[in-house]
Symmetry: C2
């Protein structure tokens, strides 16, 4: 029997591991809790009603359907048992079972961290999954709906104030997109409120946004955000988040009914199952061949791996890095099979891109720095090109072209996910009318 | 102050009421529990992974943003008080309040009826909302995922058996689409199961499917379904639905993990608030001007109205009829304002269309009858043309062209709606990983 390579996670890293083994004499299984691969760099556009979930998600089975040594399993990994070379999975019907492996690649990614304040999560959702994005979209769009009908001016102000915590690429992109919605998309839709007077605040604890970029571009990004009426607050840690908004380190309270979290990242708790040292954010400190210390048959790749470059820099948690790690791990497995020695991983940095609203962006690659419309065009080309299927490239192009020329966001559906749940028989509430149903209350 | 026209429901009928009053000296408010209008005739395609929710839904505000005498309110109607000309609504924040009206148009639509068996709902979801459609999609796609990994041949058979109850247009369209998915779309995605051997059974209590069509076309539709391996069971009432499948009137049990309901329709419970006689399915038996008996200021339109034509025929519950009623009600309100007398409603039947799989359909309009590929082309043109926005027309065309030439369904995402819920703070489970989360168990 061919050796069994088990891959946990169908993200950017996991997919590349599988693809890198397509011509090898191995059986590959990808285990994921979702049936789809998610193009996370555009997730903020789902959150801000620019794209539909299916535009940036593709079934893992469909992506890899031609790879005949590959199987996909929709299941949740509960435990890793490296001693017995097995992984415990919970299947869709709730049963648990062990799956054996010869080589294991853990590509389980990362989630948000609330820096020791888990109670903030309900008030300030983060952005990692399609569910997160739809929840953000629901909160943003619902806030305007509620503002339109409230009697209280104070409440209206809180409903049209949006605080984004964290000045990394996600925070900057969310702030820019929400400002655009308020300034343009929704302007003509409301009668009683003036959506262009909505307040968008980007709060950042350190003294800079977009830390990965050159200070010159950081400055440009702030200018571009301010052109969209976004207030950028640097050196401003958040000390409290509750249902009324946020409290800043200087004691100021911003009354806001919508707070979005784009600040912290925490590695998947699966890392703890490997029994090796983790870094401060819970990532596995891997060897130079991306294997786990003391266990060359287990690799950790993607956002879950803490990889230090020879120059001391940490490899960033971005899609290209995850893909490079995935390809590298597959290559090492091929080397093992061929009896060759392994290599050391080297990250090739092709540059960083972040977009601000519908015409601006910043780009940096080595000595090259760009900002404004040209950087934005580059951003569009790179992101459309990177989408996994040609069909999604087409669909996203149609949506973007439409939004660009018409100032209309495509996907302004407010979701009431509670209604989609198949509860036990006879919930009664489902016997509702076409007129609609289910008002999901804000916590 | 201008008279206030309150419209309950933003479906096909409600939208036309609003549009018909755009040049009148009135204030119009549409109240709906959803923020979007839904193009229900294509809802079965969302359920069968052919379209995304946003392809067939459009924010009501956006559709009517240029109509300045119109306001939209996202709220749920709890009670109607015709004596005091007011409607009680529950707003998004949970508070309830009264809204006054001068003219009321109730266009609250219909939902499924389980013929006195509400306990069937959890086992056999119906199809009226986007949530319903996503739940159907989840069940169908998950069944194949589970079948791939089960050890038991009996269980595999039950997982790849799909029973659709009800031989109306929705049942026929669902059965055809699921058969197509199994025969073509999913064929290459699985390794252990042969999806082309899936069993699709369409169960109908009476002696015909598509009752609105000529017997010749009914026969054609059955032939077309059987070409797709769908088993059509006529004269076969269902006596029981449970987690193991369905029991038929003759005692036969079909073991099936997926049962879909396309049989009964029940009017919105709001009809009971009007204090007038209802028909057997709970619809309001309106006057010839579509007003409520004894209350000329309240109209009932769309699926909620039971309208008998002079020849004794009942106006069918289809989108064109709802639109005609909406336009008619607006015209009567305009007549009232101008001091003119009202007219009697006449339904203009432009014909019926139903589609079967990806190349077949049946069409009937008066003496004209058509089936097969030409009828299907007509179906495509009519449905793309009827979509509410040009952007959605474009997107749906891209998706359909893609699916047609590539045999790939666009939107095969399995949803875990429970994950999208904004629970109270610190649910903990959201601190999951990119690898995925939340396996929603079948009831």
């Amino acid at each position: 029997m061919a050796p069994h390579v088990l891959v946990i996670g169908g993200g950017f890293a996991g997919l590349e591991v599988a693809k890198g083994l397509r011509r090898s004499e191995v059986d590959v299984t990808i285990v994921d809790r979702e049936n789809h691969h998610l193009f996370q760099p555009l997730l903020y556009q789902v959150a801000t009603a620019g794209l539909a979930p299916s535009d940036i998600a593709e079934p893992i089975r469909a992506i890899l359907s031609r790879q005949h040594n590959l199987e996909v399993r929709l299941a949740e990994v509960k435990a890793i048992d490296p001693k017995h070379r097995r992984v415990r999975v919970q299947c869709m019907d709730g049963d648990e079972e062990w799956m054996q492996y010869d080589k294991l690649v853990v590509a389980a990614g990362a989630s948000h961290s609330y820096f020791g304040h888990p109670e903030w999560e309900g008030f300030a959702p983060g952005l990692k999954t399609l569910g997160d994005a739809l929840e953000m979209r629901r909160r943003v769009l619902s806030a305007f709906e509620r503002a339109e009908w409230t009697e209280s001016e104070t409440e209206r102000r809180a409903l049209t104030t949006f605080v984004i915590v964290g000045g990394g690429p996600t925070g900057v992109e969310l702030a820019g997109a929400i400002a655009e919605i308020a300034l343009r998309t929704l302007r003509k839709d409301f009668r009683k409120i003036d959506t262009t007077r909505a307040r968008v605040v980007l709060v950042e604890a350190t003294d800079k946004i977009l830390a990965a970029f050159h200070p010159h571009l950081q400055k440009q990004a702030i200018d571009q955000l301010e052109d969209l009426n976004v207030q950028v607050r640097l050196n401003t840690p958040v000390t409290k988040i509750d249902e009324d908004g946020v409290v800043l380190a200087d004691g100021e309270r911003i009354a806001a009914r919508t707070v979005l979290w784009a600040a912290g990242v925490a590695a998947s708790p699966l890392a703890r199952q490997l029994g090796v040292p983790l870094d401060r954010t819970g990532r596995v400190m891997v060897e130079r061949d991306l294997s786990v210390p003391g266990n060359p048959d287990v690799f950790v790749v993607g956002d879950l791996a803490a990889v230090t470059e020879p120059d001391g820099k940490l490899v960033p948690g971005v899609a290209p890095a995850a893909q490079q790690m995935g390809r590298f791990a597959a290559k090492q497995i091929r080397a093992d099979l061929a009896g060759k020695t392994r290599n050391e991983f080297r990250y090739v940095d092709k540059g960083s891109l972040a977009t601000i609203g519908r015409t601006k962006a910043v780009f940096e690659s080595g000595p090259i720095r760009m900002s404004g419309f040209l950087a934005w065009l580059l951003w569009v080309v790179v992101h459309i090109w990177s989408l996994i299927s040609l069909r999604n490239r087409l669909l996203v192009m149609v949506r973007w072209a439409w939004a660009w020329f018409g100032y209309q966001q495509s996907v302004r559906l407010i979701w009431h996910p509670s209604r989609a749940i198949a509860g036990p028989p006879a919930s009664g509430t489902q016997a509702a009318t076409r007129q609609g149903a289910g008002l999901a209350a804000r916590p």
